[in-house]
Symmetry: C2
Subunit: 349 residues, 2 copies
Amino acid sequence: MLATMIYGEHDVRLEEVPDPVLSTGGDAIVRVLAACVCGSDLWPYRGITPTTAPRRIGHEFVGIVEETGPDVQNVRVGDFVIAPFYDCDNTCINCRNGVSTSCLNGASWGAEDPFGAFADGGQGERVRVPHADGTLVSTPSQPEPSQVPGLLALADVMGTGHHAAVSAGVTTGSTVVVVGDGAVGLCAVLASRRLGASRIVAMSRHADRQELARHFGATDIVEERGDAGVERIREMFDGIGADCVLECVGTKESMDQAIRSTRPGGIVGYVGVPNGGAELPIRQLFGRNVGVNGGVAPVRGYIPELLPEVLSGAIDPGRVFDLELPLAEVSEAYAAMDERRAVKVLLRP
Amino acid sequence: MLATMIYGEHDVRLEEVPDPVLSTGGDAIVRVLAACVCGSDLWPYRGITPTTAPRRIGHEFVGIVEETGPDVQNVRVGDFVIAPFYDCDNTCINCRNGVSTSCLNGASWGAEDPFGAFADGGQGERVRVPHADGTLVSTPSQPEPSQVPGLLALADVMGTGHHAAVSAGVTTGSTVVVVGDGAVGLCAVLASRRLGASRIVAMSRHADRQELARHFGATDIVEERGDAGVERIREMFDGIGADCVLECVGTKESMDQAIRSTRPGGIVGYVGVPNGGAELPIRQLFGRNVGVNGGVAPVRGYIPELLPEVLSGAIDPGRVFDLELPLAEVSEAYAAMDERRAVKVLLRP
């Protein structure tokens, strides 16, 4: 089959790789219908995190179950399934605590699983899923083609934006600022609206992203950054800042922006993968009682809650996909996101 | 009157200073009945934070109102009052948000207030309180002498331990680890019991503090620190750590202990004044979804909730005072705490 490999900076290639084979009893083979490129895939693509050897890449996909191991019970051949961006058993204590990203038996896509077998990357034609029952969520029936982007968003960005909002304690009446206008930041706006925020500020300088942010529920747009951005936010919220600030980028600058935009006693909910070795300035947090909560989003647990709303059209996170390409053009997909010509690219094998 | 001055390392002196004078309309003069030395007072005493010029010190006291300005309404001459470790108006937006430590008009003891008048330090005979109505909480009647230590604990340590627990989200059934066996750590044990924790581990190597921790509700004692301490805690809690870890010291080592003792998805509630420039390791927090919440404790807001339980004897945080000295021996009070001969010293002017 064909799957995407990353070789190094600005070098991704679609290549012939071995077909996946069932091996652990509880696994399944999924034929990928749609996959996508993640903002975090751009770190190795940009060479910010080095690629020491060619490897599979991609961790967001939806598709059809083609085969299941003899121990699989919840998922059936022919099901349309959503895969979160990681594999988990959904039964261990961390999964039961709602932190399936810390599954004691979990695996990453494009790497060896705990059984010693390979779990394929998501940007390919097929993927072997180690814990099919724990990882995959079937839709109640076959979705319409128009619903696929929204369902694919549940694999990562929608659940991740939701995690930012949940981690920051967004609830009815909260004031919210979202730092980051990528797909996750935009989904964080949508999640905040859904959770009842009274006011949602999207920090963005791009007209197309501002428009989508407003569509998702942003009540205000702030274009300023740094000190000017902090000043604008404080002005908007009684001179002190917002209740909840959602950090959806992962740089030192964006975290600084988030912390300083939060009111005393407020919370930063963060989901941006930390880059650049930034540490959190504890004295600044301490003096103002600003909490920092979040991390790698346990999206598997959020799918059952969000799926019905995607299927009903109550939320349409699939709108973050503003470019569709065949898998054969995966290299162009990376380039388009790298050059910010696209918010998020959907790939069809 | 007499008040305590700090001159530098290991150098505190009781000296004659000007009597306080009412000046702002909303202020009061309190005659101090009991004061105490805080763990954070030891930072300048030990020279870890330098003292550039002699200054007043002390920020915990209870006493009797002797005079009030014409605008004071809630507090009356003759009232027994508890002062939190800071002055606040209790009406600004930060106070209304429960973060009175960030009061927009607040003041610190032993420093100039926003009106340009002086707010005395707590380790003295009298204190001018800038916002008497906002800051002071009167007891419903004159307390018994035996109740004074418990009431004094509400000025800082009990409210601060409570804030650690609240910030970490301690609730019915929570598993809790308390890092730090000083007065605040011991009060954090008591606060956790009060909030319904199912299991409370006190990390302590001192027999007397272990005993008090057990009296306050600790179910387990762990003497190990560092890697061994983390391993013991993880062993006790399903191999993953505790739901809530209360950091009540403020060093890099204690915060590291706290973070690594928290289960994925758990929260560190921290109240130890950060020292040594330690920053929070964001990648470690991110990967395990460990939140960090807390800061300088807004104890003023907690007094109304905790006061009735101190008066009824339901909680007895006054037990943290294991040495009483006359104010004249303030220098010995600092030395006893510095040398860990006492957990916390109560001073009587």
